[in-house]
């Protein structure tokens, strides 16, 4: 059984790497944006008093690129793959073998977690080497935010896969969710510049809490308890709903 799980995870990993779009949006784009914008936009690399003296390319921008990678993975790559498996009868076919289709789900999640770890590490290392972005100053806080946030986002992806009737819908819905969620996280309008109302809304979204938590931990601050609670809440709610609603066929 463990041999089967190892095989499943290995095949899922290879299939992920064979999807150029997934690799591009999850790994190449965030790292590329960090390099391109960090290297060209004047002011990104100047110390900013309104950011407590750190540069925009440090925690604020690097944090957003890590968020972008995980959100794309969780709301696009993961649900698309799972809905396709259901659509093609792969999960149903697997239920006639000694291995339960739940193993395929676990293998997918494992691969997604591994990919998000790699994408995050790559973003941190590239930022560090290219622009001297400091590595997380509060590593344990960073790890906690990373785990909670990733679990919350992947649970949302599972919920999306559970309720979407087919791959066309899951792709559309994934994109439709991703843009407002990234906006609320401060991808285009950084949170410190948001009006009060927007900021309060952002605090309670999974991406807003995740993004701010990453930025805080990267910059050496303790993440706000509110944000950790929001992430745990989303993880629990989306995870339970996905488990209830997921259809194997």
């Amino acid at each position: 059984m463990t041999k089967a799980f190892g095989k499943l995870a290995a095949v899922e990993a290879r299939l992920f790497l064979r999807e150029p779009a997934a690799v591009f949006f999850v790994i190449v784009l965030p790292v590329g944006l960090l390099l391109a914008l960090g290297g060209t936009i004047p002011g990104f690399r100047d110390a900013d008093p309104s950011l407590g003296g750190q540069r925009f390319v440090d925690a604020p921008f690097t944090g957003m690129m890590i968020l972008l990678s995980i959100v794309t993975l969780a709301l696009s790559a993961l649900p698309s793959a799972l809905v396709l498996y259901r659509e093609r009868g792969v999960l149903r076919r697997m239920s006639t073998t000694p291995v339960r289709p739940g193993s395929l789900l676990s293998a997918q999640l494992l691969v997604n977690v591994a990919v998000s770890v790699v994408a995050t590490a790559l973003t941190l290392i590239v930022g560090h080497l290219a622009f001297g972005v400091p590595l997380p100053k509060a590593p344990w806080a960073f790890a906690m935010v990373f785990v909670l946030g990733s679990v919350a986002m992947l649970a949302l992806g599972l919920l999306l896969a559970a309720v979407a009737p087919n791959s066309r819908v899951v792709q559309g819905a994934g994109a439709a969710l991703m843009f407002p969620l990234l906006f609320l996280a401060g991808m285009w309008l950084p949170r410190p510049l948001m009006p009060e109302v927007l900021l309060r809304i952002s605090d309670f979204t999974p991406t807003g809490a995740f993004g701010q938590g990453l930025v805080d931990a990267l910059g050496g601050h303790a993440p706000q308890p509110l944000h950790l609670a929001v992430l745990a809440g989303w993880a629990l709610a989306a995870g339970l709903a996905a488990a209830r609603l997921f259809r194997w066929q």
């Binding site: 089967a4 290879r14 299939l15 793959a81 093609r88 792969v90 149903r92 239920s95 006639t96 000694p98």
Partner: protein, 291 residues
Amino acid sequence: MAIITVDHLRKTYGTRVAVEDVSFSVEEGEVFGIVGRNGAGKTTTVECVAGLRTPTSGTVTVDADLKEQVGVQLQECSLPDKIRVGEALALYASFYSRPADWRALAEEAGLDLRAPFAKLSGGQRQRLSVALALVGSPRVAILDELTTGLDPRARRETWDLVARIRDRGVTVLLVTHFMEEVERLCDRVAVISRGRVRAVDTPAGLVARAGGEQRLVFHTGEPVDGLRALPEVTSVVVTADGDDAEVTVTGTTDLLSAVTAVLPPARMRDLRMERTTLDDAFLVLTGQEES
């Protein structure tokens, strides 16, 4: 000893009755066909046997471990586009405690291990699907509509593969609506129509039930009255006369040898033999009004 026993199986979805009342048993080592038109309840029946659906009432007994020893090829089941033949086979082989040699299976099915699923033809996909059903060295293989949509050549290649499975002693439960497939592969057949079994018999037995008549039609200048006395002959009809009479002799099995013993083939012209086919038998047994 029956390896599969289906006893008064009934399956409904809400108010729709998919299977009304189906009973049959499959002996170890035979190729057992389930034939019927689309919507007759064939797939629901075998999916109940495979454990994918729970019967509404009635029982299904399979004398084998459902997961380990029953290999299944489902209708409308495919794989991710980018998975390679070898990866899929190795993966499914890892699911079982005593897997078959998947490389040998691929070779037998004529599949290139490096080919991605998306690049496979319809026939290759079906053969991969059969190979995946066999990769756990099952005692029973359930194959659902495995040649639907294939061209004649691909169909023949798939049949050859099934024949080789049978030769290994694997019991095969085969769902089909092709009579030619039944004739080539099946030892026995259950004919299902509107959720009920209409007959369970060998293909030849089904033909016999539907009349099983043979007809010889030929032209001759010889007298044919003597044929009427033969025990195998039920009627002789002569149309036209003189040197070029067309004669139709109707009778039972062995009609040809009985007739040619009296009237040498050299004296006949344009000899042809017509017989009840399995197609005819199927139409008679299921009633033609359904089509």
